[in-house]
């Protein structure tokens, strides 16, 4: 009897490297699941530390890295100097039981290092959006406060991570932590921008704002890194759902719009099964709000909201006029400053205002004025956006004829029509191979190196990563594909080092074309057995002419 087990979460831990600790356990900031005995925790942390120390003999710093063992996959991330976040994932396994003997074979191709690393990175930046940094909490508060906040945050974050990535789309989307921009014409875009300006200029305390329509970003006055974190929070983490059942990036409209309030309020999934009662018992700190409280507040406010809801989600509490719920986030280009996050929702529009902390925020008149100002203008904008959405749906029908993914590192713009590729979802060999190609194209570290340099210095290890990926990917291709003869791979390296184009055929049925031009990456799938490489080239040209004629892809 064969028993197949998918990759499963084993543990997630955060520790710090401190010299001369009296108690070894003090280095642990978070360990999930916390039921694991402390000895086992320290053992794993010790192993991680040893791996890091060992690898440093080959590299002065320890950048993104993973460790592959037969049973486990270790993924490391050092978000701040001397702070480490580690994922420990148990590989997928196939157990053959013959009589009394069990023969368990582990398959590591179901887990992708880059995806897991991205999950770690995303988790950290989300955390730093709300609590600045690990070091900040320790310096300004205490180690205990850091542990509390990390515990609160990651207990909600970890359940949203997809460790399995069985579908192509999930895997790619978890890799490209992109932003979906709403393709507005300039007239409408300017209207939205000017609306935002008008609100900002009317209330001097407003410092930044983000304007979304559904899960699509229209405007953000924040820098790209902060925008991405807040966007991810708004789109996915307000109401996390089990990652296995749902898409990784869940459209915010699924939560915000069109759902009538169910009699039983939804409970956001979290690792410790926090309940409202538990949350009410959490210690209150005026400067540092409790993350579970934010998640529950938003989830329940939205659940209660009707379809024509047009009001603040955070700020004044809708059920009680006297109380205010004012979550604070840290954003800024050079120096991170604390701002109060006010979320206003009207139909599909999510309008986030980042306000300088002020006493006015504790008065209803402030919100009434602001609401009045927003309401007078936003209705027109919502109507216009609704019309444009309808037009967009008609015009985007052609896109469904192609299966492609477009990602631009410059602005993290992401666009894809991969949801149509269902028949390839479970071919793990294919996924493995595809991932290897993507990895060779897309090095996530390069993207964020500028933004993270204030915390740590990363060395550009592009060459090493490529080499590593190529090394990792050789075997699965050779082993898992039926015949190497059926695979034709053409790799063309141009004079420009930024440009790589790969055209691959798998099983004579699926062509994969991946093209990188500067910061842009385009992945295209063509399902046709009768095409040769020349035909594919024409198909790519067609796609370019149809959708990418306005950008330079040479």
């Amino acid at each position: 009897m064969n028993i197949f087990q998918i990759p499963r979460f084993d543990s997630f831990f955060i520790f710090r490297r401190v010299i001369n600790l009296k108690n070894e356990a003090d280095k642990i900031i978070l360990y999930l699941p916390n039921k694991i005995p402390i000895d086992k925790q320290l053992l794993n942390i010790g192993f991680a530390q040893a791996t890091i120390a060992f690898s440093r003999t080959f590299s002065s710093s320890f950048p993104q890295a993973s460790l592959h063992t037969e049973k486990y996959r270790w993924v490391f991330f050092e978000p701040e100097p001397n702070y480490w976040m580690v994922f420990l994932i148990k590989n997928a396994s196939n157990t053959q039981a013959k009589e009394s003997k069990k023969n368990e074979k582990f398959k590591y191709e179901f887990t992708n290092d880059n995806c897991l690393f991205q999950a770690l990175r995303k988790g950290y930046y989300m955390f730093s959006l709300f609590y600045h940094s690990f070091n900040h909490l320790i310096t300004n508060y205490s180690l205990e406060e850091l542990r509390n906040k990390v515990n609160q945050f990651f207990s909600f974050f970890i359940p949203t991570v997809d460790f399995i990535q069985t579908s192509l789309k999930k895997r790619l989307l978890s890799l490209f932590q992109g932003i979906r921009y709403y393709p507005l014409d300039k007239n409408m875009f300017l209207k939205v921008y000017c609306f935002v300006n008008m609100i900002e200029s009317s209330f001097s305390k407003i410092k930044h704002s983000i304007f979304l329509y559904g899960s699509n970003l229209i405007w953000s006055s924040l820098n790209l890194s902060d925008t991405n974190s807040l966007y991810n929070f708004l789109c996915g983490y307000i109401n996390p759902k089990p990652a296995v059942e749902n898409e990784y990036l869940v459209g915010i409209e699924e939560f915000f719009i069109g759902k009538t309030a169910s009699p039983q309020l939804p409970q956001p999934k979290n690792y410790f099964n926090w309940s409202l009662e538990d949350i009410s018992k959490l210690p209150q700190n005026p400067d540092l709000f409790n993350y579970p409280e934010l998640v529950f507040h938003i989830t329940q406010t939205i659940a209660k909201a009707r379809s024509n809801f047009s009001d603040f989600i955070t700020g004044p509490k809708l059920d009680s006029k006297k109380n205010f719920f004012l979550p604070k986030i840290f954003v800024g280009n050079e120096e991170k400053k604390q701002h109060v996050l006010l979320i206003y929702k009207a139909n599909k529009v999510i309008f986030c205002l980042l306000v300088e902390p002020d006493e006015k925020l504790q008065t209803m008149s402030f919100y009434n004025q602001m609401k009045k100002r927003i309401e007078t203008e936003i209705e027109t904008i919502v109507n216009n956006l609704f019309k444009s959405e309808h037009i967009l749906q008609i015009s985007s029908q052609n896109e469904l004829l192609y299966k492609f993914l477009y990602f631009n590192e410059m602005n993290l713009a992401l666009k894809e029509t991969l949801s149509m590729c269902k028949e390839f979802e479970l071919r793990h060999q294919f996924l493995m191979y595809l991932s290897s190609i993507v990895d060779s194209f897309y090095n996530s570290e390069r993207l964020f190196i500028n933004q993270e340099k204030r915390y740590f210095q990363l060395k550009n290890i592009e060459q090493q990563t490529k080499a590593q990926n190529q090394e990792n990917n050789k075997d699965p291709i050779e082993n898992n594909l039926d015949s190497q003869k059926q695979t034709q791979t053409e790799k063309y390296v141009n004079l420009d080092q930024n440009l790589i184009e790969v055209t691959t055929n798998i099983n004579n049925s699926l062509w994969i074309v991946m093209k990188r031009a500067g910061s842009r990456l385009i992945l295209m799938l063509v399902e046709n057995q009768n095409l040769n490489i020349s035909n594919i080239s024409k198909e790519v040209d067609k796609l370019n002419a149809e959708f990418f004629r306005t950008i330079y892809l040479n």
Binding site: L190, M198, M410, L495, Y552
Partner: protein
């Protein structure tokens, strides 16, 4: 509004000494002062030019002349002599021509009608060859036949009796009062080969007055009736006038008695005139009417007050605003003295006038306040009787205006007040009074003659004659002024959007309006106000562009290149815009002066930025608002504004915002923008990608090649262009540049590959390429 502000001032005063001339009057048709001295007519124009016209010996003493008027071409003049039933027409004396051949001397005696003698009342030159004779019983339209040296009747109308008449030379409209009650008004408009009758209408005069007049007149004999008519004629001609407001003609009638103090406006059109009523202040008398820049200016000579009314863009002439006049400005302008009709001297005003004005103002503040309160109270009472929406308007105007609501409410008001003019907006009514405006001659010795006869000017004198649109003629003291709106003072009063709209409807307001816009931005006022202002400007700008396109398309159909340019509004250049400014008429109440992108850029954005009046972030917001407004009216945003915005994004370190703008293609693709962005790659490498994208969209390979080469983008050159294209684009100089940049790259593989390709491509032409 503060007392120190002036809304209307007297301009261009022309002075003459009446006693030195035999005959003095202001000719409305010529818009010149006519001074008759012996056998010379001096015509003094508003721009201070004096024309001397010698008249031949006609055998009529100047003292006997009742009326004399020159034809528009000043070649003829017509005369009515006292106690003479004939009209005389003579040609002026021209030394260059043979008098015998071309000079005419016509005497025309109107025929008898039912045994009645036609007594000449007046005449008007309709054209250089057409004249209108007005007699006690008829209106005769004659053509001047120069060959036969006589007049030929074109048309004539007979009436029971013509008591008085009003003539408006600009539109050639004559209104006749044809009954003893002075209520029936007949009107005619003389066009080329056409006389249009204006529908008859009645002046609304109370029964009491009518009765007394009838009674008085009926008791008089023929001669006494005539005398009475002349007397009443003066009254009625003083109280009625023809004015033009925003391309609409009105007959105004000032009705003052114990219970009524109103200005009635009868709209002159093809249809029966529609009457509107404007309530006048309850204090003062001696009202007279002028028009300044499409604003109704009502003078009150008793309390020496003038009030401005704006009929605004509302239908049926509903009144929307009222401004009071400030005292007349001390004559800072040069005064032109017509001395004996020959010399022209200039005197500068004295600053002491201002001090005197201030003292006078203080003394008269009480009266002003009374008037102000009265007008306000009247309006408040009227508004109370109306619905609540009007009150909202008051509140909005007094506070900050939310323009959308205001417009809605104003529309509601229009519907409710179609038949009666209401003062809806509560502007501060300044009731400024000016008794005297003294000015002294600083150079008394130099201008002795002037000192002898006058060194002060009395204003609001009963002798003043008000001519339309904006002239005041003082035959007694010998002055001609015209009123002009002091736009700078008006600009100072702009406190809300309606007032800004008011300002924009004024002619020549561009510079002042730009200053106001700059000031509003400098004060960091609510962005929605700026937004509204830009929309207002660009709405008119857009209309002007489309009008100019239509005009140009029809007018320049033979020039293909220009047609092409005009068919595409995106290609507007400054010459087009200048043409637009000329074509737009300021008389339409709904249209404003055209303020284009160049005006806004240089007068507002540049000055705000250079003088550091506002910070960069706010200026970005403002410029973006302007771009939004332009885009919403489908006007292409000029390159200079795009460049300025990009610079501001860079200066204020907001590149992430700039990228979103580029992403949504707010800036129209152009080589300039592409070049600028690629040049910014040192600031942020993303700029380069955006710049190349623009080049791709522009699809001009030669330009693209040049830009790539100038920035040393060798790989792009090799990738993007075919070998044939490279051969075409590369000349010797460009090849040298390419070579030097290639060698600097220190990329051996690149150098090797490219040099190999190039050596084959250019081996015949450029041997020196070998690397």
């Amino acid at each position: 509004m503060e007392n120190s502000e002036f809304l209307v001032e007297l301009m261009n005063p022309i002075h003459f000494i009446p006693s030195e001339y035999d005959f003095v009057f202001f000719d409305e048709t010529l818009q010149e002062i006519i001074l008759l001295s012996k056998n010379i007519i001096y015509c003094v124009s508003l721009d201070h030019k004096i024309t001397e016209i010698k008249i031949p010996k006609i055998g009529i003493e100047n003292q006997n002349i009742s009326q004399i008027k020159l034809s528009p071409n000043k070649k003829f003049f017509a005369i009515i002599q006292k106690n003479d039933p004939r009209f005389y027409i003579f040609s002026v004396k021209n030394e260059n021509e043979n008098e015998n051949e071309n000079s005419i001397q016509i005497k025309y005696l109107p025929k008898k009608y039912k045994d009645k003698h036609f007594v000449p009342i007046s005449f008007e030159w309709l054209d250089s060859n057409e004249i209108l004779f007005i007699t006690t019983f008829s209106l005769e339209h004659h053509h001047l036949d120069l060959k036969k040296k006589t007049v030929q009747k074109i048309g004539a109308y007979s009436f029971v009796f013509i008591h008085c008449y009003l003539y408006q030379p600009q539109h050639k409209i004559i209104l006749l009062c044809t009954d003893l009650n002075y209520i029936n008004i007949r009107g005619f408009q003389f066009r080329i080969n056409e006389i249009i009758q204006i529908p008859k209408f009645q002046l609304d005069i109370p029964v009491k007055e009518m009765y007394s007049k009838i009674k008085t007149n009926s008791n008089q004999g023929k001669e006494s009736i005539e005398y009475k008519i002349r007397s009443n004629q003066n009254n009625i001609t003083k109280s009625i006038s023809i004015i033009q407001l925003y391309n609409k003609l009105y007959c105004t009638h000032i009705m003052i008695d114990e219970s009524i103090r109103e200005l009635r406006l009868y709209r002159l059109s093809k249809h029966t005139p529609h009457r509107d009523v404007l309530r006048l202040p309850k204090i003062g008398s001696g009202f007279s009417v002028n028009v300044v820049d499409n604003l109704l200016l009502i003078h009150n000579s008793e309390i020496q007050l003038s009030i401005l009314y704006d009929f605004g863009p509302h239908k049926n002439g509903n009144l929307s605003f009222a401004f009071s006049i400030k005292p007349f400005v001390p004559f800072e302008e040069k005064i032109f003295i017509v001395e004996n009709g020959i010399n022209l001297k200039k005197i500068l005003g004295n600053n002491e006038n201002q001090n005197q004005n201030q003292n006078q103002n203080e003394n008269q503040n009480q009266i002003q306040n009374q008037i102000q309160n009265q007008i306000q109270n009247e309006n408040e009472n009227e508004n109370q009787n109306q619905n609540e929406n009007q009150n909202q308007i008051q509140n909005q105007n007094q506070n900050q205006i939310q323009y959308q609501n205001q417009n809605q409410n104003q529309n509601q008001n229009q519907n409710e007040n179609e038949n009666q003019i209401q003062i809806q907006n509560q502007f501060k009514y300044e009731n400024q009074i000016q008794n005297q405006n003294q000015f002294k001659n600083e150079n008394q010795n130099q201008f002795k003659n002037i000192i002898q006869f006058k060194n002060t000017i009395d204003l609001y004198k009963p002798e003043w004659k008000h001519y339309q649109p904006n002239f005041v003629f003082d035959p007694k003291d010998g002055f001609l002024f015209h009123f002009e709106l002091d736009l700078k003072s008006v600009a100072l009063c702009v406190e809300n959007l309606s007032q800004f709209e008011f300002l924009l409807r004024r002619s020549n307001c561009k510079n002042v309006a730009l200053d106001v816009i700059k000031e509003i931005i400098a004060q960091y006022k609510n962005i929605s106000i700026i937004n509204w202002i830009f929309d207002l400007l660009n709405k008119n700008y857009s209309l002007a562009l489309s009008k100019a396109t239509e005009t140009s398309l029809t007018g320049l159909s033979s020039q293909k290149s220009q047609i092409f340019q005009l068919q595409n509004p995106k290609n507007w250049n400054q010459q087009n815009i200048k043409r637009i400014q000329k074509t737009v008429s300021p008389n339409n109440p709904k249209s404003f002066v055209v303020i284009d992108q160049e005006d806004i850029y240089y007068e507002v954005f540049e000055k705000l930025h250079k003088n550091k009046i506002v910070d960069e972030k706010f200026l970005i917001v403002v410029i973006t608002e302007y771009i939004r407004s332009l885009t919403s009216y489908n006007i292409e945003v000029s390159l200079m504004i795009c460049n300025r915005l990009i610079d501001l994004f860079v200066i204020s370190n907001q590149l992430h915002k700039l990228f979103q703008f580029i992403q949504h293609r707010v800036f129209k693709d152009s080589f300039e923008i592409a070049n600028k962005l690629i040049g910014m790659q040192a600031i942020d490498p993303k700029c380069r990608n955006f710049g190349i994208d623009i080049l791709k969209r522009l699809d001009n390979k030669q330009e693209m090649f040049d830009i790539f080469l100038s920035y040393g983008m060798l790989n792009q050159i090799m990738k993007h262009f075919t070998q044939d294209e490279l051969v075409v684009f590369f000349d010797e100089d460009k090849l040298k540049i390419f070579k030097s940049k290639l060698l600097k790259s220190n990329n051996d593989l690149q150098i090797f590959t490219i040099s190999k390709v190039f050596s084959e491509l250019f081996k015949e032409k450029y041997d020196n390429l070998k690397i």
